[in-house]
């Protein structure tokens, strides 16, 4: 098995606010991330696909295809967007690094036809990231 990773960057804004909480609770739990006008990050996304290289092409999957999938599924949805208001997949969720990474996993997983999605790593800053793996016994650990 070979792992192949492609990296992209996008810029987006967000804020953390749970309407079920009081303003005081929101501020206590989310701190400055609760600023009502939002704030932004340069996100770095690393997408890793696992598979056997095709004997004819030598590729796990064509990087050009992966690039197009990332452009369509991630860049067009999230780049230069306000994640709370402009990304329907995140509606009703706090757009934390964990939740954005999970939404990206769910968007990409069905689109990758050659090889299998192995890991999604999303950096919100160079010092904070979330990793997503396939859960369960048939997950990334075993593949």
């Amino acid at each position: 098995m070979v792992l192949l990773t492609r990296k992209i960057e996008f810029a987006a804004s967000h804020l953390y606010n749970n309407p079920d909480f009081s303003p005081e609770e929101n501020l206590r739990i989310f701190g400055k991330c609760n600023n009502p006008h939002g704030h932004g990050h340069n996100y770095t996304l690393e997408v890793t696909v696992a598979g056997e290289p095709d004997p004819v092409t030598g590729m796990v999957l064509d990087l050009k295809d992966l690039k197009e999938i990332l452009e369509r599924e991630v860049m067009q949805r999230m780049d230069h967007r306000f994640l709370n208001y402009e990304v329907p997949e995140l509606a009703g969720q706090i757009p934390t690094c964990e939740n954005i990474a999970r939404v990206i996993w769910q968007l990409l997983d069905p689109k990758i036809k050659q090889g299998t999605l192995h890991r999604v790593r999303l950096y919100e800053t160079p010092d904070l990231f979330a990793d997503c793996y396939r859960n369960g016994a048939a997950g990334a650990k075993a593949s």
Binding site: Y16, N18, D20, F21, I29, F30, G31, G92, Q93, I94, P95, T96, C97, E98, N99, A101, R102, V103, W105, Q106, H118, R119, P126, D127, L128, F129, A130, D131, C132, Y133, R134, N135, G136, G139, A140, K141
Partner: protein
């Protein structure tokens, strides 16, 4: 707040990097001066030397639908600050950290000591600790769970 479609099919880990600067000397009192020098080379310099350590802490757990978080970063940051950064930053590992009185403060041992200190974090499961001693070398420890290592 909803928990996201298909929750449970994806395992989510949260990674956070911290930094501290400290000095150490690699020296085993049970060995002769010559053996120490042969084994540890310039790291055996009697006055010690220092590094800017980068500590990557990875935790896992259920993403709380109400907060979208595995663990509140303020809690994780506070715990790491108290357990690791306060006692280690700008210190001599050999002289100032009790665990290294009788143990050589290699980054392997440092990894294991930091893992031991962070394991009790109450709000999430500690998966692994990775330490970059310099930009050219790094060490990882996942306790007794080899599946905690980066995949």
């Amino acid at each position: 707040m909803n928990s996201g479609a298909q929750f449970g099919e994806v395992k989510v880990d949260l990674g956070r990097r911290y930094r501290f600067a400290a000095s150490h000397r690699l020296h085993n009192a049970a060995l002769s001066e010559e053996e120490n020098w042969r084994l540890y080379g310039k790291c055996n310099n009697p006055y010690g030397h220092g590094h800017n350590y980068v500590v990557e802490v990875v935790v896992s757990g259920k993403v709380d639908p109400a907060t979208g978080m595995i663990a509140n970063l303020a809690d994780l940051d506070g715990f790491v600050q108290r357990e690791v950064l306060d006692p280690f930053d700008h210190k001599s590992l050999n002289e100032d950290v009790a665990a290294f009185r009788g143990t050589v403060p290699t980054t392997e041992n440092l990894c294991m000591e930091i893992f031991r200190r962070l394991k009790p974090f109450p709000n999430a499961r500690l998966e692994r600790v990775r330490i970059q001693e310099t930009s050219n070398n790094s060490f990882e420890y996942a306790g007794d769970n080899p599946e905690g290592f980066e995949r």
